[in-house]
């Protein structure tokens, strides 16, 4: 039986190391991808331009030039906010008073959509959400009756308000003031 030489053994371990390292890098990259993409979204050029750290911002309607987030919907008017619970809870409110669809969705730092609520749930009433971190307590917060406490799985994350606009030019006078009712500020 032919014996394996030292050189062959060395190359066996080299190739084995290459394969194991490649697999580890692959898994790490797949794990990190949504987190990195969210970081770019929350700290990148759009976030800097719109100044949306614990503050609502109102990007223009979607066009072919909108290339910050993939698959932008041309039928929705977006409002955004990067929430940061490091210094304490964040209060989110909105009162669009629209008959058509609108929603507020919250995304964790790993891109999970951990909370969403739409106009049907509010039934014409204003939205009042108090966002707290997992380690934070809502017991001492002055949460008014009718407000909802939401626990975020991550300290930072992204708020996306969607307002339906089947025909923006025709509806602009109504939906622009409606979406500008969104606030997102430290409580």
């Amino acid at each position: 039986m032919k014996r394996i030489s030292g050189q062959q053994r060395l190359w066996f371990y080299r190739i084995l190391t290459l394969i194991v390292t490649a697999i580890l890098v692959h898994i790490l990259a797949v794990w990190a991808a949504p987190r990195l993409i969210m970081q770019v979204l929350m700290r990148g050029p759009m976030a800097q331009t719109l100044n949306m750290h614990n503050q609502a911002a109102f990007p223009p309607p979607v066009t072919a030039a909108s290339r910050t987030v993939v698959m932008p919907s041309p039928d929705l008017l977006y409002s955004v906010c990067v929430f940061d619970l490091t210094a304490g809870p964040v209060r989110i409110s909105a009162s669009p008073n629209l008959k058509s669809y609108w929603s507020i969705a919250l995304y964790a730092a790993n891109s999970d959509n951990f909370f969403v609520i739409n106009d049907r749930k509010f039934n014409g009433k204003p939205a009042d959400l108090w966002l707290v971190s997992l380690s934070g307590s809502s017991d001492t917060l002055p949460v008014p009756a009718g407000a909802q406490v939401v626990v975020s799985p991550s300290t930072t994350g992204f708020l996306l308000m969607r307002v339906l606009t089947g025909n923006y030019d025709a509806e602009k006078a109504v939906i622009e003031p409606a979406r500008h009712t969104l606030t997102c500020t430290p409580a």
């Binding site: 072919a64 919907s73 959509n113 049907r120």
Partner: protein, 203 residues
Amino acid sequence: MRGKPSVNRWQRIGIGFALYGCAVTLGLGSAWWVLKKAPWTIQTVRVGAWETSLLAGSAHADLYTRAAIAANGLLALGRDETMYFIASQDDAGHPLRSRCSYRVEGVPPQARWWSVTAYAEDMFLFDAPNQQYSLNGTTARLDASGHFALTTGGQEQPGTHWLPTPGDRGVVLTLRLYNPEPELQAAPTSLRPPMIKAIGACA
């Protein structure tokens, strides 16, 4: 003779760096390929030419689904709020190309509101000269049998809602259903999928 061990050491270091470089390149390249080019790695349900992920936006999404959604459909909503059906081929199974014309026809889906949007393969909107990027539940005109219709392609097809797709690129059609009916949420295959048929020869 005294210089040989030193040369061997540098050789080994060089081989080590080259191997680790290959490993990192392989790892990153395969991750990119899986997320952007191999959509079968995420759990989807197919209805006609359309596919939907049951775990988009969900905290229960697995590693690959979460990453693929972030790379191809960031900020998606869960299916109790919105369902996304994606088509990158026609009913005959041919990849959608922007230089070809297609007719998309169907009945309004079981949802509060819906839209069909044409994206380029990079998942951004085409630079449509008429700034029409979608057909939706507000703008769609139904025919006598209750069907909507649209066409995509470089050339306008008379008498239909035209979504221009200039250039020669891949096309991805997205059917969004806002507040889908509970029956559809529970059984996405119950969707009556809009048909996607090529019109004539590609330009």
